[in-house]
């Protein structure tokens, strides 16, 4: 243990700690669960608030994208060959009609960026859901059952980690029929490994505890012990890692689209838009690259900052993935 406890904590947590401990006079002193403590720390974190606000805004923009589209009168896949393209058939710059300009097919980039948020968020969240489910399942079984099951799962994870993620993802995407669901499945299934290892480690240390022994003495079977007794105790770790997994899933999805094995066209997708723009932006069509890239960057940044704060809130001592 370190002798200087302040050193390992970040600013935000230090601020959070002081605000949390200031109990107003006359207020009843009550016990607070770790969840509540984490929630209070998170609420006191200014960076987390801004990031969370940004995420909410992105979600709202994605959900109400059709409303924007009908308000502006431009569909996401509608081509404006007359006003949306210049004399050479290239994109037109941002204007009152096209706020973010148009793309190489004369489509409204603003509306397409909004629709792109839908894909990113849906893939990010659902793929993370798959990773979490698989990670928890494999981590719990490997950690609790141990022995041969543990060895088999460990080698399986080794194999998955030994083949480069993108190489495997492109291979699977290429030989299957491209669709949004395929992308969700690929990103989700291929990224459960790290979480499984974390859960496994936690379970190995937890299964020696008295309450697990008590459950076993009462006649609880392995599944009951794993999911009723052990799972709630690794949940904090799972949530922390899941919140950091969402931005990774969003980047993976965009990368697959950038390599043109992601969600098939004409669906509006940030990675695909950036890929399309890469043969245009050099010739002065900067907006074509700029707006989708900015949208992607803001989204991953917001999720990363928020995920970081979630981690700090659950584990104020620091360490782990990030400081």
């Amino acid at each position: 243990m370190s002798m200087v406890p302040e050193v390992g904590t970040t600013d935000t947590v230090a601020v959070a700690a002081t605000t949390v401990t200031e109990v107003p006079v006359g207020r009843k002193i009550e016990g607070r669960s770790p969840w509540r403590l984490a929630y209070e720390r998170l609420r006191a974190d200014r960076a987390a608030k801004i990031a969370f606000g940004t995420i909410i805004l992105i979600v709202l923009l994605a959900v109400f994208a059709p409303l924007f589209a009908s308000a502006v009168g431009h569909g996401p896949n509608q081509q404006f060959i007359d006003i949306g393209e210049n004399a050479n058939g290239g994109p037109v710059p941002p204007s009152g009609t096209f706020w973010f300009g148009t793309d190489s097919n004369g489509r409204d980039l603003f509306i397409r960026v909004l629709y792109g948020a839908q894909i990113s968020l849906v893939v990010g969240v659902l793929a993370t859901g798959i990773s979490v489910a698989l990670g928890v399942l494999f981590g719990l079984t490997a950690g609790y059952l141990g022995g041969i099951v543990d060895s088999i799962i460990a080698r399986m994870i080794d194999v998955m980690l030994s083949i480069p993620f993108l190489l495997l993802a492109i291979s699977i995407a290429y030989i299957s029929h491209p669709s949004e669901w395929l992308v969700i499945l690929i990103v989700g299934v291929l990224s459960f490994t790290y979480l499984a290892r974390i859960v496994r480690g936690q379970v190995i240390s937890l299964k020696a505890k008295e309450y697990v022994e008590a459950a076993r003495a009462l006649g609880a079977g392995p599944w009951r012990i794993m999911f009723i007794d052990l799972l709630p105790n690794v949940m904090a770790q799972v949530i922390v890692y899941a919140s950091l997994l969402i931005p990774l899933a969003i980047v993976s999805e965009a990368s697959l689209s950038f390599l043109s094995v992601g969600v098939p066209p004409p669906t509006a997708d940030w990675g695909a838009m950036i890929a399309d723009s890469s043969s245009y932006f050099q010739y002065g069509y900067w907006w074509y690259l700029f707006f989708p890239a900015l949208a992607l960057l803001i989204t991953t940044l917001a999720f990363n900052i928020f995920g970081d704060s979630v981690r700090d809130a659950f584990d104020p001592r620091g360490g782990g993935l990030f400081v």
């Binding site: 083949i163 480069p164 492109i170 291979s171 990368s255 390599l259 890239a293 960057l297 940044l301």
Partner: protein, 319 residues
């Protein structure tokens, strides 16, 4: 230690073997041999021609026999013949590997030195304005997808500043043996791209590990002996803090050597990543198998080295 090594090597071989079976099945069950032959034959080929190609490429044999042929020659150092390049897979890999190695090792020098230096600065002056800006920069680059950063660098350095910076070619590769100067020029932007997105992890890893170490009792002892702060940081603090950095670097370099697919695609570098994407699009099975096996070997060997290094660096680790 010997027993540990033998067990780890046995595991590594098992992992490589399972990977080879998995990828083989993935491609043979996936598109199927007829599809591979059809892609190879082209759109206007007759059924007879497709059957002929299938026979020539041994795609009409039973699966286990095909796999057996592959692994038997692979163990003899022959990874087969590329369907498209008119060359053996060994030659294809030998051409692509130096490109990826140049890219990854050069970038690794940048990302490790940048990450460790900024990490130390952040830890020593923790909570200063400097620390905040460096940590924010790390988070920024960590959140940045590789292709966004690469395109941004191309846009800013190669186009916007083009009258000032005429020395940023951004597409293609020149071998170091041909022209070291040009090799360097062509790799600056790819190096920067790969290094910046990777370095963020190192900044934060070094900072965290350094802060932990600087709180240890032996650091206090060193300080109370009157040792100059500079020496305390470099000799006692840094040395102990670098173990996790070495681990991370080993794994990252191992993974990247299998092909930095996006960076290579972006800058037109004909390395392993670029070649693998070409091979997947062409369903050039022998090349895909060769690259996957090479990449998996890099990862498995890197893991092995890291495990051994760990035991050497940290005397507390015992197997």
């Amino acid at each position: 230690m010997t027993r540990f090594l033998i067990r780890r090597i046995a595991q590594a071989i098992l992992v490589l073997w399972v990977s080879s079976v998995a990828v083989f099945l993935l491609f043979f069950v996936g598109p199927g041999p007829s599809q591979v032959a059809r892609t190879f034959a082209g759109r206007l080929a007759t059924p007879q021609r497709i059957a002929q190609i299938k026979h020539d490429l041994h795609l009409d044999q039973p699966l286990y026999l095909q796999y057996w042929h592959w692994i038997w020659s692979a163990l003899h150092g022959d990874l087969g013949f590329s369907y498209y390049h008119g060359q053996s897979v060994d030659t294809v890999l030998a051409q692509a590997a130096p490109v990826t190695i140049s890219l990854v090792l050069g970038a690794a020098v940048i990302w490790i030195s940048y990450g460790v230096i900024t990490g130390i600065i952040s830890a020593v002056w923790s909570r200063s304005l400097m620390d905040r800006s460096l940590t924010a920069a790390a988070l920024f680059f960590y959140s940045m997808p590789t292709f966004v950063l690469g395109l941004a660098l191309i846009w800013i350095l190669a186009y916007k500043l083009s009258p000032v910076t005429t020395f940023f070619p951004f597409h293609g590769y020149v071998a170091i043996t041909k022209n070291p100067g040009q090799w360097f020029e062509y790799l600056i932007l790819p190096w920067l791209t790969l290094a910046l997105v990777t370095s963020a992890t190192y900044t934060r890893l070094t900072r965290g590990s350094m802060l932990d170490t600087m709180g240890e009792d032996y650091i206090r002892t060193a300080r109370s002996k009157g040792m100059p702060e500079r020496r305390v940081i470099v000799q006692h603090g840094l040395r102990a803090s670098l173990t996790p950095v070495v681990t991370q670097a080993g794994l990252d370099i191992g993974t990247a050597l299998g092909g930095a697919i996006i960076t290579e695609q972006l800058f037109g570098l004909p390395g392993l990543g670029w070649t693998s994407v070409q091979a997947i699009t062409n369903q050039d099975l022998p090349v895909i198998m060769g690259i996957v096996m090479l990449a998996a070997t890099f990862v498995v060997v890197a893991n092995l080295i890291v495990d051994v290094l760990y035991a050497v660096l940290d005397p507390r680790v015992r197997y």
